[in-house]
Structure formats: structure tokens, C-alpha cells
Amino acid sequence: MHFDWPYFWHQLLQPNSAFLQGLWLTLFISIGGQVIGLVIGLPAALARRSTNKLLTWPARAYILLMRGTPLLVQIVFIYTGLAAAGILRFHDIHWGGMVLAGNVQAGILALGLNEGAYMAEIFRAGIDAVDPGQTEAAKSLGMTPSKILRYVVLPQAFRIILLPIGNQFNIMLKNSTLVSVIGVSEMLLVTETINSATFRTFELYSVLAIYFLILTSIWGLIMRLVEQRMDRSRLRSPAASLGTTLAETV
């Protein structure tokens, strides 16, 4: 086996500008998709938990559709399928000197819609994990359901779901490669393009894998710091998650 070490080190340590742009696009798409997922996830979770069937059923259908079909199919369907049917065509958006390409918009939207379904289930689990006795106490104090959610349930649910959300973003970073199929020049597509000119496939994909490993490792480190901070604040004020369990053992 021949491994071109000089080429490998050069690509790893001094990537060309196309690859760096791909790196930024990967981050941009991942963060965009995650933000949309978060924004959709909470209302979808609330709709799913509602007692009103007009809210529950659309939420159920959305979650079923997004979790039950491949993300790759959703990406192609949203960008190519909708355009072919004449329903929705994504046009480039220009602000000043910046361009947000149509396929990038479609990619972020598809990733976000898919993520929203998973976020909805995570939010739902987090909300259900908050001691229902506290909701009853809040009701008995005359609080409306929306105030109970805002002041009592969600602050505790967020703590519970912080780590699952972090895990989802790790998945999002890697799933963002799928939008290469609609021509978005993120890291994978840039790598494919360079490969088609140089045929140093093994070296190039090794570099790509290492870049993803670095991204997910940095994210893992951030999540560990967040976790430690949560533990510290729990030591200082040991209520949050221990509170109810301690109270119940008394």
C-alpha cells in the first residue's frame, strides 16, 4: 500500500481555501439545522402532549414522517422533489455581498425539519421527567398552564435535556454531509471534488475523517464543561435534579 504522507500532512495542516470554505459551510449548516430543530422541537413537543386532538395529530404525523423516512430522502425531496412538482423552488438570497444559495437553504431546512422531530421527543421526555407533583402545587397556587410551563416545568426540563441536545448536535455535525447530494459544497463534497482531480482518495478521506473527529471532539469538550458547571451549581444549590428524589425519600 502506498500512502502519500507529504500530501496527507499538507492537506491536513494547510488545507486549501475551498476545503476551509467547506468547513465553514459544514458548521453553518449544522448550527442552522440545529437551531431550526430547537425552534420546532418545543412547540411540536407541546402539541404532541396536548389534550387537543387538533394539535396532537399533526404533531404525531410530523414526528412519524420525519423519524420514519431517511434523512437523505427528505433532503432530496425538499430540494429537488418540491421544485419538480412546482410547489417550492429555493432561490439564492443576496444580502450585500453575501449569498445564501438555494440548495444551502433547502439543506438547512431539511436538516432542521428532521432534527425538530427528534428534538420534540427529547423535549417531551424532559417535560414528562419533571415531578408532576410540582405542577399540581403550581396549579393549586392559581398558576395557568402556560405560567406553570414557563416558571416551573421548562427550567427543570432544560437541565434534564441539555446532554441529549448536545448528543443530537454531534449527530447533526455528521449528518450535515448528506446535503452534499444536492450540491452543497460542504466538507464532503469539496473532498470529493479534490479527489476527482488528484485521485488521492485514501489520504483525502483520512483528512476529512480527522476534521470531523476534531469538530466532534471540540463539541464533546464543550459539553463536558457544561456538564461540570451543572454539577458545580448542583453542589452549591443541590436542588435541581436531586431535590425531588431527596424529598421523596424523607
Binding site: 407533583g133 410540582q134 402545587a137 403550581a138 393549586s140 397556587l141 416558571y151
Partner: protein
């Protein structure tokens, strides 16, 4: 003691095919302390929870201060009221739970001032001042900034009482407030309740503390299989119990 504060008429409550409350009627007068007793499954906790509409009822009606709780008249029938209206009705009815149910994400002080600020729109200074006075009253003035989980069960329950009182309710409901406590902590909670009774608070209490019932209650309501089988002052129930259930329940305390 003439003004009726809580009134129940023919209240029926079912869980599936099981009838938990089978046509319950009673009056609670202003300033009264009424203790509900009965063996487990007799419906006493469910009855208490109906008074602030934590449980729906099938038929009958419950009023507090003259207001129908949880329902409104609609074309001769009772239909469930809107959430916002039910929330408004609950402001006047304080409740203390067996498991305290303090908000785990907040300090003791924040537990107490949350509802006065967010429900009644009080400013922080006024709410805090009242919270501190209430904490002093339940003997926990120095615990304002503590977290619920750092408190003993008895202390948590006293905070829960202060939290309910902060809404300045006209009636207080206690659902087995000492059942989850270690024996040495029962006394401190009962003492707070006794003080409240002496200050004239209207209270409905589900408890197994028979000595407390005998010494503090103005009236004892005895429940059995979803019905009220006896209702009278402690002396009468202890000396001349009319119903076999009353005799069985009060016998150990005599």
C-alpha cells in the same frame, strides 16, 4: 361561624367504573377546622382534591365563597370551565400536599414569592416582605435562601404551608400533610397547623393524626366507601359514635 365558605352538593366522582365519591354533600363554615378521616380508599383525599378542581367530578357541585368551582352553567348543564377561570378560582384555595411538592429549581424564598408575583402581579419587595413574615411564622426565617433539598421533610412541609399562605387564601386544604414525615418531624408541622386554626383560618384536613383531630378540629367528617357516614364535633364522635366505621377509626385513639 354562620357563613358557608365551602359547600358540596351531591358530588359524584368515578375513576372508570369505580365510584370514588358517591353523592357527597357538606358545608364548611368560615373559620372552621374540619378533619376528614376514613380508611384508605374511602375517598377523603379525592374529595379534598375536588375542592380546588385537581379532580373533575361527574355530577354535583362544589362552591367556594359562593363561586362554582371548575364548572360553569351552560344551558341547564354544567360544563368544565376554561383553564384561566379555574386558575383564578384556585387562588383562594391553598393546598398542602403529602409530598410537599416544592419547586426544585428555586430557593425557599422563590418558592413562596413565585405565585404572588406571577399570578397576583405583586412586586418583589411586597412579595418578599410577606414571604419573610410567613417564614418567621413557620419558624424558618433563616432558611429563605436555602434550597428545598437541603431541608428536612418537616421543614419542607412548613415551607409548603408558607407558600400556600402567601396567596392569602380563604380556605386551606391539607392532604395528609404529615404522612410522608419521620415521626420526630410530625409535631413541628402539626404545631404550625394548630396555630393557623387558632388564628381563624378555615381548614379542611385529611389526616391520620387522631390526637390532632380530637384536639384541634371543630368537626370531624367520617368517610366510608365514597360517602360521609358521620359528621360532628370530636367530643360527640368520640363519646357517642353513631356509625361502626367511626368507632373502628377512633378506637385506637380513645
Amino acid at each position: 361561624m354562620s357563613e358557608i365558605l365551602v359547600q358540596a352538593e351531591g358530588v359524584v366522582k368515578r375513576f372508570g367504573s369505580h365510584t370514588v365519591l358517591d353523592g357527597v354533600s357538606f358545608n364548611i363554615y368560615r373559620g372552621e377546622t374540619v378533619v376528614l378521616i376514613g380508611s384508605s380508599g374511602s375517598g377523603k383525599t379525592t374529595l379534598l382534591r375536588c375542592v380546588n378542581h385537581l379532580e373533575k367530578i361527574e355530577t354535583g357541585r362544589i362552591t367556594v365563597n359562593g363561586y362554582l368551582i371548575g364548572y360553569r352553567q351552560h344551558g341547564g348543564r354544567l360544563v368544565e370551565d376554561r383553564e384561566a377561570n379555574i386558575a383564578r378560582q384556585r387562588r383562594d384555595v391553598g393546598m398542602v400536599f403529602q409530598r410537599f411538592n416544592l419547586f426544585a429549581n428555586m430557593s425557599v424564598l422563590d418558592n413562596i414569592i413565585l405565585a404572588p408575583m406571577k399570578v397576583r402581579g405583586e412586586n418583589r419587595q411586597i412579595a418578599t416582605a410577606r414571604a419573610e413574615a410567613l417564614l418567621a411564622r413557620v419558624g424558618l426565617a433563616e432558611k429563605a435562601n436555602a434550597h428545598p433539598s437541603s431541608l428536612s421533610g418537616g421543614q419542607q412541609q412548613r415551607v409548603a404551608i408558607a407558600r400556600a399562605l402567601a396567596m392569602q387564601p380563604t380556605v386551606m386544604l391539607f392532604d395528609e400533610p404529615t404522612s410522608a414525615l419521620d415521626p420526630e418531624m410530625v409535631g413541628e408541622v402539626l404545631a404550625v397547623m394548630r396555630d393557623l386554626a387558632q388564628e381563624g383560618m378555615t381548614m379542611m384536613i385529611v389526616t391520620h393524626e387522631m390526637n390532632f383531630a380530637r384536639n384541634v378540629a371543630d368537626r370531624i367528617i367520617v368517610m366510608d366507601q365514597g360517602r360521609i357516614v358521620e359528621d360532628g364535633p370530636p367530643a360527640q364522635l368520640y363519646d357517642r359514635p353513631a356509625h361502626a366505621k367511626t368507632r373502628a377509626l377512633l378506637a385506637p385513639a380513645r
